[in-house]
Symmetry: C2
Subunit: 153 residues, 2 copies
DNA sequence: TTTTTTGCAAATACTTTGCATAACG
DNA sequence: CGTTATGCAAAGTATTTGCAAAAAA
């Protein structure tokens, strides 16, 4: 399975429309807080933290609170409207330094190792990488629901 | 640049020797706490959290404290003797859902996007992935020191 | 013996939760 | 109007730090 990514970035209006559609589908109300938070993340190119989102959104909604930002970011993630860079809040460590992938289950938090098979390439680093800096570690992370949790549902 | 990973896992004794050599090189003392923590992570295959490492190490050193575990994990990471799954403690969000990579600078914490060029494949998912669960998100993370920080040093 | 490291305790992030009021549909 | 979402305050985790005593070189 290969993934490419050469589509141009979508227009904000297109994305807003999808956001609203998804909210309705999930039975979530389209509040101005949700819309502003969605726009802030969609338009930002700096991978903002919750705090940064708060600051940005306060320009339009001065009274919005940090916990609303957290709650909304979580529900936008749930709807696949944005993604969380990295992992959940707890750090996990791995002593195996051979290049391999981590499948992180969003349901139970379990981290599974996936080793590429003998004929597979673990990663192909994009050429852009070396222009950005010296790569010391590579970590391919997959997020989804593991077999065990799929059965429970 | 391609990375493969079909070497067998190294013996603990080999790894311990490297650990000790690296400590001396960096001028860090080889204490029993450091050795136990290193072994705990090196031998574990469950991507333990700091808390789990503490529990495991307490079998040998009942008085070891959680902050020593944190400090040691950080220095082992610094020496490239283990890796942190995910990121640092603060969550960051990305509204761009096209498959792309993140270069995380371990110095300044900055997250850079790297988009594969038109002729490049962003990722090749290993076949093992689908046996583990349903992949909903893919995130290739590179860690290293960015150009800007390299210049400062 | 000198310097680093540890364990303790306390402080500091960061994130989540309960609840009354406000806002959406 | 009924129900959901928000803001506030407070609680809950995860992680970091200052410092005196203990341990490594």
């Amino acid at each position: 399975m290969q993934l490419h990514s050469h589509e141009p970035k979508e227009e904000l209006s297109t994305r807003l429309a999808r956001f609203e559609a998804q909210c309705r589908e999930k039975g979530l109300r389209v509040t101005k807080q949700r819309r502003e938070i969605f726009c802030a993340v969609a338009q930002s190119c700096e991978h903002p933290s919750a705090e940064k989102v708060l600051v940005s959104v306060r320009k339009a909604l001065p009274n919005i609170s940090l916990d609303t930002v957290y709650r909304t970011l979580a529900s936008l993630e749930e709807m696949d409207l944005l993604m969380r860079v990295g992992l959940s809040s707890k750090a996990r460590f791995d002593g195996d330094l051979r290049p391999h992938c981590h499948f992180v289950c969003t349901e139970c938090g379990e981290v599974y190792d996936i080793f590429p098979q003998a004929d597979e390439t673990a990663f192909t680093l994009p050429r852009g990488a070396r222009e950005t800096g010296g790569v010391r570690q590579v970590n391919l992370q997959l997020r989804g629901i593991c077999k065990k949790c799929q059965k429970k549902q």
